[in-house]
C-alpha cells in the first residue's frame, strides 16, 4: 500500500539527519571559502604593499644619500654623527669606526666631499627591506701633503642603499659600492 502524503515510520529521524548533514556541508563550504578569502586578502596586501614600500624607500634613500656620503673637514664630526643617526644595525658601528679613521685624514687634507643624487630606483622589496639603487656624483676637494693647490675631482658613482623600516621612519641598514662582490 502506497502512502503518498503520509509519513513512513522513522521518516522524521531520517530527514533530521539529512538536515544536519546539509548544515555541516554548508558550514564546511563557508569555512573553506573564508580561509581562501583570508589567504588571498593577505597575498593582495603583500603584493600591493611591495609597491608602496618600494616608493617610500626610494624617496627616503634619495633624501638621505647626500647626508650619508658628504662631509666637510671643518664640521666632519657633526656630519658623521648626522649620517650615523640615519643608519641602523651594523652600519651604525661602521660609521662609528669611520669617525675614528676618517676624521684625522680629512682634517689633514682639508677634505670636502659633496654627494649629489642624480637617479634612484628600486632593486627589490623583501618584506620591510628594500634595496635601492642610487646614481650620484661625488665631488671631492682635498689638498694632498706637499701640494700647495687643492685637487678637485668629480666621480660618477653608484651605490645600493639597503633601507629598512623602523616604526614610521626608513633607516639605512647597508651601503654597497657595487664593486666586485661588495
Amino acid at each position: 500500500m502506497t502512502r503518498p502524503f503520509g509519513r513512513h515510520p522513522g521518516e522524521p529521524v531520517r530527514r533530521g539527519r539529512e538536515g544536519a548533514w546539509v548544515l555541516v556541508m554548508l558550514g564546511a563550504v563557508t569555512l573553506a571559502l573564508a580561509a581562501a578569502v583570508g589567504v588571498m586578502w593577505v597575498d593582495l596586501g603583500r603584493l600591493r604593499a611591495g609597491e608602496t614600500l618600494g616608493r617610500e624607500a626610494m624617496a627616503s634613500a634619495r633624501a638621505v644619500a647626500a647626508d650619508m656620503l658628504s662631509y666637510d673637514y671643518r664640521t666632519i664630526e657633526q656630519d658623521l654623527t648626522r649620517a650615523r643617526e640615519l643608519t641602523t644595525g651594523s652600519l651604525t658601528e661602521h660609521y662609528r669606526e669611520l669617525a675614528r679613521t676618517l676624521v684625522p685624514t680629512a682634517r689633514s687634507q682639508q677634505a670636502v666631499q659633496q654627494a649629489t643624487v642624480s637617479e634612484a630606483a628600486v632593486e627589490r622589496v623583501e618584506g620591510e627591506r628594500v634595496d635601492v639603487l642610487v646614481f650620484m656624483n661625488i665631488a671631492t676637494t682635498k689638498t694632498l701633503p706637499g701640494e700647495a693647490q687643492p685637487q678637485h675631482e668629480v666621480i660618477p658613482n653608484r651605490a645600493r642603499f639597503v633601507m629598512v623600516r623602523s616604526g614610521s621612519k626608513w633607516m639605512v641598514a647597508g651601503l654597497s659600492t657595487l664593486l666586485g662582490s661588495a
Binding site: L23, V37, G54, V122, L133
Partner: protein, 164 residues
C-alpha cells in the same frame, strides 16, 4: 520557533554568507592575479634591461657578428637604430684591436612603469683585454638609464642612455 524553522534560518544565513564569500573570492582572485602579473612584468622588464646591458658589453673579435646580432635582438626602436648605426665602428675597432671584452651585471632598479613601458637604471662593468698585447686588462664602469618597452610578450630596450 521549532527545529525546522531554526534550521531554515541557519541555512539561509549560510547561503547568504557563501554567496558573499564567493563574490569576494572571485574579486580577490582577480585582484591578486592582476597584482602578481604586474610584479612578474616588472621583473621581466628589469631582466630585459640587464640582459641588454650585458649584450652591449660582451664583445669579442672572434664572435663580433654574433655579438652584434645578440645586442640588436634585445633592443627595439631608438636603441636598436642607434646600436645598428654604431655597429660598423664597433666591429672595426673590436677586430682591429683584437678586443675581448666580458661583462658583469651589478644591479638593475625600477624607477617607474605603466605596464607597457618601464624606466630602469642599470649598472654593469666590463673587463677589456687586447689579445696579443702586453697592455694590462682595463676595468670599465657603466651606468645606464634605459627605457624598456613591451613588444608582444617580450620586453625590449627602446632607449639606452649612458649616465655619465
Amino acid at each position: 520557533m521549532n527545529g525546522g524553522a531554526v534550521r531554515l534560518a541557519i541555512v539561509s544565513i549560510l547561503g547568504v554568507l557563501i554567496t558573499v564569500l564567493i563574490v569576494m573570492a572571485v574579486w580577490l582572485w582577480w585582484q591578486v592575479s592582476a597584482a602578481q602579473l604586474a610584479a612578474d612584468e616588472r621583473a621581466k622588464a628589469l631582466n630585459a634591461a640587464g640582459a641588454h646591458a650585458v649584450n652591449l658589453l660582451s664583445v669579442s673579435h672572434k664572435t663580433i657578428d654574433e655579438d652584434i646580432k645578440r645586442a640588436l635582438s634585445s633592443a627595439t626602436g631608438r636603441a636598436k637604430a642607434e646600436f645598428a648605426r654604431d655597429s660598423e665602428v664597433l666591429k672595426k675597432t673590436t677586430v682591429d684591436d683584437k678586443i675581448l671584452q666580458t661583462a658583469v651585471l651589478r644591479a638593475t632598479g625600477l624607477i617607474t612603469t605603466d605596464g607597457s613601458t618601464a624606466r630602469v637604471l642599470v649598472v654593469a662593468d666590463s673587463l677589456v683585454r687586447w689579445e696579443d698585447s702586453e697592455a694590462a686588462p682595463a676595468k670599465r664602469f657603466y651606468r645606464w638609464n634605459m627605457q624598456v618597452t613591451k613588444v608582444g610578450r617580450s620586453w625590449l630596450v627602446s632607449e639606452a642612455e649612458r649616465v655619465p
